[in-house]
Subunit: 166 residues, 2 copies
DNA sequence: TGACAATAACCGTTCCCACAACTATCCTTG
DNA sequence: CAAGGATAGTTGTGGGAACGGTTATTGTCA
């Protein structure tokens, strides 16, 4: 038995390397976990995973709010995307934007009461979702997985290969 | 030291659960691996990761070709998206579409010589990329990671929770 | 055979994400 | 204080992914 990976993507020939198998496995796993959560968010709260993320960030920021740049850092997204993500979220009445009076280049984003309510209604569902998605592994294997993923990130080396010169 | 995860997303408060930490870690890792590869594909071959995937599938299919539905299964995408992905790939001259003569509802996709050349130029780069991205873990930890990811997929339970009835 | 369901793919729409180019504002320094 | 550079966001554009609904074709069966 070659694990479920081959059947899940109807792969017939072997992977070229262990690295390739892990890469595909990683992408597939992330994808399979995201799907049901995205669907749930859309149908019950009418928001996307990105918007959920944004609201979590804004709730964490409290009355201070966050600038677009700070949000971009935490989202691992680029600034331009945050602008439009914010646009969509404002339109739903879940966030508010206020231009800074000190530095008029800066725009601060805040969560609205409606946004807070939306998050609160989802808080319990997140826990259930994560439990369903990953709880079966148990603390031991979850810890291993977390550490291996951290090691993978730490071990990355630049690509395309740099500094090849003499 | 709380691993790099906290600093990578500027997270200040602890995660609500180990499951949440693993979930975020998984998403972040997948994201960090995808980025450089996507950039490389775009700048050197002018294609997207999805198009690369499509070409790999078509190369594997050889002269038989693949129907849209078969491709969708292997891509973990929906049919409508494959239609348009194919459109863009055809426009680049990397694939060809032929309507089946037996069952005229069916459309078969094939890779062109130009598409094959494109893939061949990338074959070596893939190996280098994967080595740079994940090679540092070594076979032992890569094997563990693959198995843990497979276990995570196998352990998933439906969400939203179904079949709660007696 | 003629209605009707099933199947394969496509279209319209929306949101997400990446890059490049741009505007507005602020800071520096001669 | 007036360039000129740096910084913060926005806009333009295009590929990608999800959903629902639609068209074309085939299969079924009364």
């Amino acid at each position: 038995m070659k694990s479920d990976l081959y059947t899940e993507i109807r792969q017939t020939r072997p992977f070229r390397s262990l690295e390739e198998e892990v890469y595909v496995s990683l992408r597939l796993t992330a994808q399979l976990l995201d799907e049901p959560w995205a669907r749930y968010l859309r149908t019950t709260a009418g928001i996307s995973p990105s918007q959920y993320n944004l609201l979590r960030i804004l709730r964490g920021a409290g009355v201070e709010g966050r600038t677009m740049g700070e949000i971009a850092e935490r989202m691992i997204n680029r600034d331009p995307d945050v602008t439009r993500l914010a646009d969509r979220t404002l339109k739903l009445g879940l966030a508010r934007r206020i231009r800074d009076t000190e530095d008029r280049r800066v725009v601060n984003l805040f969560i609205t009461p409606k946004g807070l309510e939306t998050l609160e209604r989802l808080d319990e569902a997140v826990d259930v979702f994560l439990k369903q998605a990953l709880g079966a592994l148990g603390p031991g294997r979850l810890g291993q997985l977390r550490d291996l993923l951290a090691a993978a990130r730490a071990g990355r080396r630049p690509f395309p290969v740099e500094g090849q010169a003499t």
